[in-house]
């Protein structure tokens, strides 16, 4: 059926993921031609490991963005949860499962506090989360005095390798814990958002909260779920970050807000809600990762990287919006908007 095929093509052409994939392939090809070390398995695995924390948190942020909100406080949440867990582990000496659960609980509590401010007090999400960010981060700095915790227990800092192989070139490739956690989180988020009713309701709420309410979605529950989920994932990301660097530094995660937000937005999540896919967000992170890594391998100054990020955000968001606007003009009712 050529007609069906062409309509499928047309649908795909409007998906930001496709454009992103195209850009990634082009950039990847250029880098692998210019920098010989770029397209090697160790380098790719290394990249995955480096960007795992950002990816984990971006998954949570994506859920909030789909619900039509925004959260700026996740980096502060991650720091607070990480530090609380580190205190419990290093000072009180609690066992691993208790510490991890406590850390996740702190994240969930902070996320639910955001949700309460937004849902019950009707504070705009960006304002509520900016305030929460300044409150929780400042209190963390005040009570911790900015002191890092270096003596994390061994179970936290020792590297966990799930799969290890030696290549013919002698390089060792390790699939480590952060990569596995990232994959699990991405899979879970994808399942929730596409296969569970709460995920579909979140899309509906992001598209039109009033309509979603009238078809029976409980907006309050959805709000608490979205921000709570982000809180939990931020806490998880925070603890994985401490696992990677082997210490807990109270301000290590600060100022990553805008980078993670850029990655989610690059992947097609809309700030107005209701749009976005897990693969898209992952592709957004991949694009930022290979840009940074490729430029590094090419020997371009790391100072230059921020300029590239800025240009990438401007160009990609403009293209996405303009192409979807053109698409909307041609689209008549027969086609449902695609969320995959």
């Amino acid at each position: 059926m050529p007609e069906a095929a062409s309509s499928a093509m047309a649908r795909w052409r409007r998906r930001p993921e496709l454009w992103l994939l195209l850009v990634i392939l082009i950039v990847g090809t250029i880098f692998s031609a210019l920098a010989p070390g770029f397209l090697t398995l160790p380098n790719v695995i290394d990249l995955l490991d480096t960007y795992s924390v950002q990816a984990i948190i971006a998954m949570g942020l994506f859920v909030v963005l789909v619900s039509g909100g925004i959260d700026i406080s996740f980096a502060a949440t991650a720091s607070v949860a990480q530090y609380c867990a580190a205190l419990l582990a290093a000072r009180v000496g609690l066992p691993a499962p208790v510490v991890i659960l406590a850390g996740l609980a702190v994240g969930a509590a902070l996320g639910c506090l955001n949700a309460a401010l937004i849902h019950y007090l009707r504070i705009t999400s960006i304002i509520a989360t900016i305030s929460m960010m300044s409150i929780s981060f400042s209190l963390l700095m005040y009570f911790s005095g900015g002191r890092s915790i270096y003596d994390l227990p061994d179970w936290w800092t020792s590297r966990v390798t799930f799969y290890r192989t030696e290549l013919a070139s002698g390089d060792i490739v390790r699939i480590t814990l952060p990569i596995v956690v990232m994959a699990a989180v991405a899979l879970l988020t994808w399942a929730i958002m596409t296969r569970a009713s709460i995920g579909r309701q979140l899309y509906a709420m992001g598209g039109n909260p009033e309509a979603a309410r009238r078809i029976g979605a409980r907006i309050g529950v959805l709000t608490f779920f979205a921000y709570g989920y982000l809180g939990v994932l931020a806490a998880l990301g925070g603890m994985v970050q401490a696992h990677r660097v082997g210490e807990s530094v109270p301000n290590a995660m600060v100022n990553t807000e805008l980078a993670i937000l850029s990655a989610a937005v690059l992947g097609g999540a809309s700030l107005t809600g209701g749009i976005g896919t897990v693969p898209g967000v992952l592709l957004g992170i991949v694009l930022l990762a290979i840009l940074q890594n490729g430029l590094n391998l090419l020997g371009v100054s790391s100072y230059f990287f921020q300029i590239v990020i800025g240009i990438t955000i401007l160009v990609s968001t403009s293209i996405t919006v303009i192409s979807s606007r053109r698409g909307r003009r041609h689209r008549i009712l027969e086609e449902a908007p695609a969320h995959g």
């Binding site: 504070i123 900016i130 929460m132 400042s138 100054s301 230059f304 921020q306 800025g310 401007l314």
Partner: protein, 341 residues
Amino acid sequence: MADPTPTDGGGLLRFFRGAPGGHLGLLALLAALLLLFSALVPGFLSQGTLNSFMYQLPLLGLLSLAMVVPLLTGGLNLAIIATTNQCALLMVWIMRSLIAPDASGAAVLGVIALALVAGLLLCLVIGLLTGVLVAYTGVHPILVTLGTKSLIDGISIYLTRGMALSGVPDALSSTLNASILGVPLIFLLLVVAAVLLGIILKHTPFGIACAMIGSNIEATRYSAIDTRRVLVGVYTLSSVTCFLAALVVLGTFNSASADYAQSYLLVTILAAVLGGVDPFGGFGTVSGLMIALAILQVISSGLNQFGLSNYLTVAIWGGTLIGVVVAQTAWAAFGPRWRRK
């Protein structure tokens, strides 16, 4: 949502009404804080406190003004601090590279004038580009300005390698640090900028168009207002305010760097919302913002003299905002019933 008094004839009436009328609650909070701190901190109501107040407020104040203009249209300019720093860097760079050590007074003045013009032009260009991107692509302003912030910061950091540039000539720095009748010049700069912006936003067609765009951009477009041109104007005005902030940076730090004042970015939004600016756009006044800034600064000075850490100040700022918004929501929900009785 954040409209504090939606009952008295909606926002339109409030918008046209006199300045301090809608801010009774904020003024009461300010008075209460002043009383509290003067009771708790000996010597709080002194000339020294007033002086530090007038020296510390202008930078945050001008940056908040730069943020309020886009906020009023329902947008946001995340690039204000990046713009300010780049403008300050450019001005310092011009002055330190063009002024010879043995230059005559007239030559120095000429170079300073050149630097000021260059800084203003840079801000104009940044503002125009941002405005064009926001207005003509239809991308959400948060994203556009996130991109421009990253780009501008990147360029500044790339060119300076993250170092601070010093070398503001004495003529300029002593002018910027001068005071007239005991009032610092930079504080006067803030006052003048606030009054001007207040007049522009309240009493010119441009200002009315800004508020209308913030309320409903489609309706504004159908009312024969060129919304795109207004939006370009909004971001240009915001950037030009950053030029004034850059002057304050030069006066206060006597140098320029890509990472000065970065922590103020979210505080400016906080101050604006505390002052009754609706984050969705449409409503807000400069006078409200000024009262909010005074509240934040009083909290900060008071806690400082109390001997508390800076971190706690920021936490209390956040708490104040949430408290005020909660009070506004409660007032909107229960206030009318009390008043009618």
